[in-house]
């Protein structure tokens, strides 16, 4: 297994080599992680009372972030579909990077769940045989199952592809392709199961709408790949990674359709709530207009909508889609828009007013911000490390020693067995 040791040593070498901007970025992430650790130690000591969650709003910032990141993880599929289903070469070369993002996002998801639990030391209670998972009734057991399965699948795919490419060997299409195609329904299922977690609760009329699962998929697909678009531009400049403009534009075009669907489904929900105007309107009203003097979320609601609409226009119009300045602006806007929508726009109004009609205006504490920063730090660090290893492999500069000289043409490595 000297090949593996050599590979790992090579990985370490890749990760520890970098220019000033790279180390500044790593330093920033480590600082965020340090903040997270400090904040978590406060929470571990005092209990979750260190957050602003209370009985009335018992899920908030952490679960909002979790929901958003499951969407990001699911969105990796947006690259996989054109790459492997339609065999579209420009994206095929970079689809693996989407899977790396999925892995990082899933790690962040699992961390957010852990920091939200009152007794994370008892997480084994959800594991079969040693624990007693309430499967199939509990949606959270399904969520744990599909998220871990999707993580495992992505790790297997990524490690297999990268290791084979590193070795300069073609991958076995009969093994690889079915797994990749499997990741499509798995990605949809992770986000659908997460949606069902909220959807199934009759106690929360704001969530108890059939439209929730489709909305989740639409918002995931229109926000997740924006990280990829920015990343590809960074890689093109930093590594001279040959990513064609068409690949980036195609992703943006697919995102535009998802954005339309997202806005359409939002419109459908708003129609139903405002037109029927039952007592269930209160939750929607709290988010968009406020109730009484309680208007905490209102500015964010309209900011999110404005961001999403502007981003949609920027992505839809080919001229702005193809100009990288407006494209990147659109990416930031849609990321912000969906982030607000999934966090503040989904979780908090679901709890406000409470089941007994009372209003608790929630806003996160410093501890919650700190822990969230730490989790994002971990996730982006994982992503950075994975990309730092993957890109040299894909580009061809990081290969197994015995293949280093007279390296094969790059299209044979990372290509299917003929």
């Amino acid at each position: 297994m000297s090949g593996v040791t050599e590979f790992l040593r090579g990985c370490l070498r890749e990760v520890t080599t970098g220019n000033r901007s790279y180390w500044a970025w790593i330093g920033f992430l480590l600082a965020a992680i340090a903040v997270g650790i400090a904040a978590y130690s406060v929470q571990a000591g005092a209990g979750l009372i260190a957050t602003n969650m209370r009985d009335d709003v018992s899920w908030a910032f952490y679960v909002g972030n979790f929901t958003f990141l499951v969407g990001v993880a699911a969105a990796a599929v947006l690259l996989v579909v054109p790459a492997y289903v339609y065999q579209w070469k420009p994206i095929k070369e970079v689809a693996v990077l989407g899977e790396l993002l999925a892995v990082s996002a899933l790690i962040m998801c699992l961390l957010f769940i852990l920091v939200d639990m009152g007794h994370p030391d008892r997480f084994l209670h959800i594991v079969p045989i040693i624990g007693s998972p309430n499967w199939p009734s509990s949606m959270l057991t399904w969520d744990a199952l599909v998220l871990n399965a999707y993580l495992l699948l992505n790790l297997v795919l990524v490690l297999y592809l990268l290791f084979k490419t590193y070795r300069g060997q073609p991958y076995n299409v009969r093994v690889f392709l079915p797994l990749v195609l499997l990741s499509i329904p798995m990605a949809i299922s992770t986000h659908t199961v997460t949606a069902f977690l909220y959807n199934g609760m009759a106690a929360r009329p704001y969530w108890n709408a059939s439209i929730l699962a489709p909305r989740f998929i639409a918002s995931a697909f229109c926000s997740g790949p924006s990280v990829m678009i920015i990343l590809f531009q960074v890689l093109r400049r930093a590594f001279r990674f040959d990513i064609k403009d068409e690949a980036i534009w195609k992703i943006a075009e697919l995102m535009a359709y998802a954005m339309f669907l997202n806005l359409f489904l939002l419109g459908a929900e708003l129609f139903k709530e405002y037109y029927s105007a039952t007592e269930h309107l209160l939750y929607t009203k709290y988010y968009w207009q406020g109730i009484g003097g309680h208007r905490t979320l209102v500015p964010y609601a309209w900011l999110s909508l404005a961001s999403s609409v502007v981003a949609f226009v920027l992505f839809l119009v080919p001229r702005t889609r193809r100009r990288f300045v407006t494209l990147n602006l659109g990416c930031l806007l849609i990321w912000a828009g969906v982030y607000i929508e999934k966090g503040m726009g989904l979780i908090i109004p679901g709890f406000t007013p409470s089941t007994l009609g009372q209003i608790y205006p929630y806003a996160p504490t410093a501890v919650e911000w700190g822990i969230a920063a730490g989790v994002f730090g971990v996730g982006f660090l994982v992503f950075t490390v994975l990309v730092k290893i993957a890109v040299p492999i894909l580009v061809g500069t990081f290969r197994a020693p015995e293949r280093a000289q007279g390296s094969e043409p790059s299209h044979a490595a990372g290509a299917p067995t003929p």
Partner: protein, 320 residues
């Protein structure tokens, strides 16, 4: 034979004090000194235990899987912990349900005056955290007669010098012990389940604190220990049940258990006994001559949020 000891109405008893009410420079009474001593000891214990639970507790199985000798050891360990934490002897039981018993609860909203005696009797009986966080298993809503049972016109935080206030009526809510409980359905670890006598219980040593059940409960009946419960030694009720009122750790969910430590021994729950107007009725639904059956057969009975099909064992009615 003397009549059974009547529970005190506590109408004149000083209400639970908020820390802001403490007067600076006031000489410490012996009770308060003991409280602070216990609190300091408790804080030290909490700091130590926040790093992790004991090894034995970590490996403890789910309540339903415990063999009798294992259960006895678990109960003994809890009594030991109580002695460490509170310096008092307690008796922690684990009585099972009785055959032929299925509890029913009746609440007469033509009688409730909103005095909240039930709220605090429950707190005292069931060892809830008093102030950090403050946990009330019973929540009394003040509603308007003009609007009826309408949550958009309900006030949990009403204050008054005298109740009932004109034009208002009162609607207490606690765990409805649903026959079709959404909390049980959604719990990922099976830490909460419905017992044969109808009580929905929680194994506090199995709960992971994910709070899915709290999102799923339509009645806001489940409460979370956001911090280590604030419970002074002299406030402790030593008569305890493993699934009921034993002092809880931080990070777990709790809720009304129909005073399982009392009702499984044949007594009324604390809220039923303390209610000064007799608005609360309790008994065995399977006994045709019980008070609750008589209520259901003679009065107009309804359940809260019936459209959710939770089928509660908690019935609201109007006696007149």
């Amino acid at each position: 034979m003397t009549s059974p000891r009547l529970p005190l109405l506590r109408s004149g008893e000083p209400s639970p004090r908020h820390p802001e009410e403490a007067v600076a420079g006031e000489a410490l009474s012996p009770g308060r000194r003991a409280f602070l001593r216990t609190a300091a000891a408790g804080a030290a214990m909490a700091a130590l235990s926040s790093c992790g639970t004991g090894v034995e507790e970590f490996f403890q199985k789910h309540f339903k899987e415990l063999k009798p000798d294992e259960l006895a050891r678990v109960l003994a360990r809890i009594e030991r912990r109580n002695r460490e934490r509170f310096g008092r002897d307690t008796k922690v039981g684990a009585e099972g349900p009785r055959a032929g018993v299925f509890f029913g609860y009746g609440l007469d909203i033509s009688r409730c005056v909103g005095c909240r005696r039930c709220v605090y009797a429950c707190v005292r009986e069931n060892n809830q955290s008093r102030r950090h966080p403050q946990i009330h298993w019973i929540q009394v809503l003040e509603m308007e007669k003009e609007h009826g049972v309408d949550l958009s016109h309900a006030d949990l935080y009403y204050e008054a010098d005298a109740v009932p206030r004109p034009g208002k009526f009162y609607f207490p809510v606690q765990c409805q012990q649903c026959r079709n409980p959404p909390c049980v359905r959604t719990c990922p670890t099976g830490a909460t389940w419905k017992e044969p006598d109808g009580i929905v219980v929680i194994d506090y040593n199995w709960c992971i604190g994910c709070r899915c059940c709290m999102s799923a409960c339509p009645y806001g009946a489940r409460h979370f220990n956001w911090a280590n419960p604030t419970l002074a030694a002299e406030e402790l009720n030593p008569d305890e049940h493993y699934l009921g009122n034993r002092p809880r750790p931080k990070g777990v969910v709790e809720k009304c258990t129909f005073c399982i430590q009392r009702t499984r021994r044949g007594r009324y729950p604390a809220c039923v006994e303390v209610c000064p107007v007799g608005a609360r009725k309790f008994g065995n639904l399977l006994d045709p001559e019980s008070e609750i059956r008589r209520v259901m057969e003679t009065k107009r009975v309804f359940v809260f949020k019936e459209e959710l099909a939770t089928q509660p064992q908690f019935y609201y009615f109007y006696a007149t």
